[in-house]
């Protein structure tokens, strides 16, 4: 048994590479974080920032020729990034559940949801067919599917989008995993359904102590769900900290710009903060801090040297402006952008 303070997930120095004809691209650089039992870590960033790849590395589903080229991933103290394929298959499902964006592609359209659930349960737990079926009904009830005992024999196409995502969550929970990696679980859903799924994830986390890594580009979902947030940019974590600090007092200029660019239903602004330009392609990541060409505060050192994460305000940010724990006044950071 691991010590009680062992994090469920401990990622250290993770590096994911894609060999190409024109050289090796590094899509995830030196990413480190931990998730405690019952904690929700939000991972945000724009398309191509490496957030989904980080999730895929943890569940051992990086498509070749991509590969984990460095670092360690520990699940409850046990190293899992170097496990052989079959051993990883047991970990995935038994100890790590996965929820993806599109529930229709996560379910087999030819089998009833009951058959898929029962198969998953029996693969991982020593239960009889009848026991597994009872557990499957229980899971469907737990994720809020009405008339679960009847709906269990229906096919995926007979469910609506929100109900399908609930089925996928039930599948992820089938073997009582310690960790759920949820990659954009609410992105394909309407707002009213999205709210239901968020509440469901939060409740599961609270009731079962399941740790959740929630990958999304939707800051609203993060604000409602996560305990801590990691902001990714060009393959690295540029800021990580408690959700309230990252959202309301971001320290990295990229996080500041990202938060300012989000329209809200409660404030009225003439213009949204705008980060000019676009995230660099993997083939052309700038020297020094990868954000410096778009950063309104960039100075000489930013162009030469890459900053590591350092304490800044309530969070840790990879920014030379924060050397020695200097705290940006929110105003200076936001208005100058």
């Amino acid at each position: 048994m691991p010590a009680p303070d062992t994090p469920v997930l401990d990622v250290a120095g993770l590096r994911v590479e894609f060999p190409t004809r024109r050289g090796t691209l590094t899509a995830v650089h030196d990413v480190s974080f931990t998730i405690a039992p019952g904690e929700v870590l939000g991972v945000v960033g724009e398309s191509g920032a490496g957030k989904s790849l980080t999730g895929a590395a943890i569940i051992g589903l990086i498509d070749p020729p991509g590969r984990i080229a460095g670092g360690e991933i520990r699940l409850a103290g046990r190293r899992i990034d170097n496990l052989p394929y079959d051993a990883m298959r047991t970990v995935r499902g038994r100890e790590i559940g996965a929820v993806f964006q599109d529930p229709l592609t996560s379910l087999n359209p030819l089998y009833t949801v009951g058959r898929q659930l029962i198969e998953t349960i029996r693969t991982h737990l020593p239960l009889s067919e009848a026991q597994a079926r009872a557990r499957a009904v229980g899971l469907l009830e737990e994720v809020g599917i009405p008339a679960a005992a009847r709906r269990i024999d229906h096919y995926p196409h007979q469910f609506s989008g929100g109900m399908r995502q609930r089925v996928v969550i039930a599948l992820a929970l089938a073997a009582k995993p310690k960790l759920i990696v949820a990659d954009e679980p609410t992105t394909a859903l309407d707002v009213s359904i999205q709210a239901q799924i968020i509440q469901l994830l939060k409740r599961l986390c609270r009731d079962h102590g399941t740790a959740i890594m929630l990958v999304t580009h939707d800051m609203g979902v993060i604000a409602e769900t996560a305990d801590r947030v990691a902001v990714m940019y060009a393959g690295r974590i540029v800021e990580i900290g408690p959700v309230a600090d990252v959202i309301h007092r971001p320290q990295h200029p990229y996080s500041v710009g990202l938060m300012g660019s989000i329209p809200s239903i409660v404030d009225e602004r003439e213009r949204l903060t705008q980060i000019d330009g676009a995230m660099p392609r993997l083939t052309a990541i700038p020297d020094g801090c990868a954000f410096h060409p778009r950063c309104p505060h960039a100075f000489d050192r930013c162009r030469r040297e890459r900053p590591e994460l350092m304490a800044a305000g309530g969070t840790r940010a990879a920014c030379w402006l924060r050397v020695g724990g200097a705290v940006a006044s929110a105003a200076a950071g936001v208005e100058a952008a």
Binding site: M163, S192, S261, P263, S264, I265, E268
Partner: protein, 358 residues
């Protein structure tokens, strides 16, 4: 006149839809209907919409998938013909009952409106250079425009949306999503339109890019006195960009009001439910009203008010009688289609969304 009392005489509507409906026949093929005794099935994608869009304003249209908001966009630009009702643009009936037969007037009206689509990857021809994409609407409307003048105009359009003149030589795949949407906007502006129909123009973009595009759209609106119909499922985006907002549910507008009123004081129970469901950065920590149920099957909508199965205020009248869109009585130009609102049965809002003054 009651439906138009929100339109002051000074600024007449640029576009007016009166009783516009669009049905789709989604029946099984004839032989199956005969052999299997299936009935004809009609999908009422848009079922009677009355709306007027004033010159220079941005009307936001929100609703969940399948509520008919994109069908409204397609009806206006002429990609669909209305099943009934009339669409009048700038005084010219362009579609539906009593549509003008005058081809020249129709062409002029059509030239005045353009559309921006959601997916900038699908709406630009990958085999065309950007300059040709942007020039195409101009060529269609002015076939004998001199080449030099066309090239000049394309450069001006590209610069107007923040691209470089040299970008005209490139192909769409050389641009990021946000830049592609700028190309779509440049193309839409090429005929000097006064009205843009924007169907989820930022939904496929990352937030920081979305901010760039929204700021650009606002600048262009001001500079070129454009009128927008802005369709989105994202309430925060609509709150940011729109002057007035219409909320759609199952093919009808259930509430339409000035943006500030709609968000501060929503009347229709569906609007309230939607607003409660939006995750927000403020993290008030307050328990939100549980959102009940899902949108019913549009092939078999509930009788009476289509929202009644999900509505906490539904009574016998709601199950029987479909409510009409009528002024909410505040005199601020808000209209709501709800028996409970009309009868004064609305409870005060549990969690009022205060419009923070910043």
């Amino acid at each position: 006149m009651s439906a138009e009392n929100d339109t002051s005489a000074a600024a007449g509507p640029l576009l007016r839809m009166t009783g516009v409906a669009r049905y789709f026949d989604v029946s099984a093929p004839w032989l199956n209907r005969v052999l299997e005794r299936k009935e004809r099935v009609t999908l009422k994608a848009v079922d009677g919409i009355d709306v007027a869009i004033r010159k220079g304003e941005t009307l936001g249209l929100v609703g969940e998938s399948g509520c008919g908001k994109s069908t409204v966009a397609r009806l206006i630009v002429g990609l669909y013909a209305p099943t009934r009702g009339t669409i009048v643009y700038d005084g010219v009936p362009i579609a539906g009952d009593g549509a003008t037969k005058d081809a020249r007037a129709l062409r002029a009206a059509r030239r005045g409106m353009q559309m921006i689509f959601q997916d900038p990857y699908a709406s630009l021809n990958p085999r065309w250079r950007v300059a040709d994409i942007v020039a195409e609407p101009l060529r269609a409307h002015e076939p004998d425009i001199p080449r030099a003048k066309l090239a000049e105009r394309v450069v001006a359009l590209l610069e107007q949306v923040g691209l470089a003149a040299a970008d005209g030589k490139k192909y769409p795949h050389q641009f990021s999503g946000g830049q592609r949407q700028r190309i779509s906007i440049a193309r839409a502006l090429s005929t000097n339109p006064s009205f843009l129909v924007c169907d989820e123009p930022t939904s496929a973009l990352d937030v920081s890019v979305q901010a760039q595009v929204l700021n650009l759209m606002r600048d262009l609106q001001r500079r070129l006195s454009l009128t927008y119909l802005f369709i989105s499922h994202n309430l925060a985006v609509v709150h940011h960009i729109a002057d007035r907002v219409g909320v759609m549910y199952l093919g009808r507008i259930v509430e339409i009001a000035p943006t500030r009123d709609l968000f501060a004081n929503p009347q229709h129970p569906y609007t309230r439910m939607l607003l409660d469901a939006v995750p927000d950065l403020e993290m008030t920590g307050e328990a939100r009203t549980a959102v009940a149920g899902e949108v019913p099957n549009p092939l078999d909508p509930p009788a009476g008010c289509t929202f009644h199965p999900r509505c906490p205020l539904a009574d016998a009248r709601c199950r029987r009688e479909s409510p009409a869109l009528r002024p909410d009585g505040t005199g601020r130009g808000a209209q709501v289609a709800c028996h409970a609102a009309e009868e004064g049965r609305l409870p005060p809002r549990a969690v009022p969304v205060a419009v923070a003054v910043r």
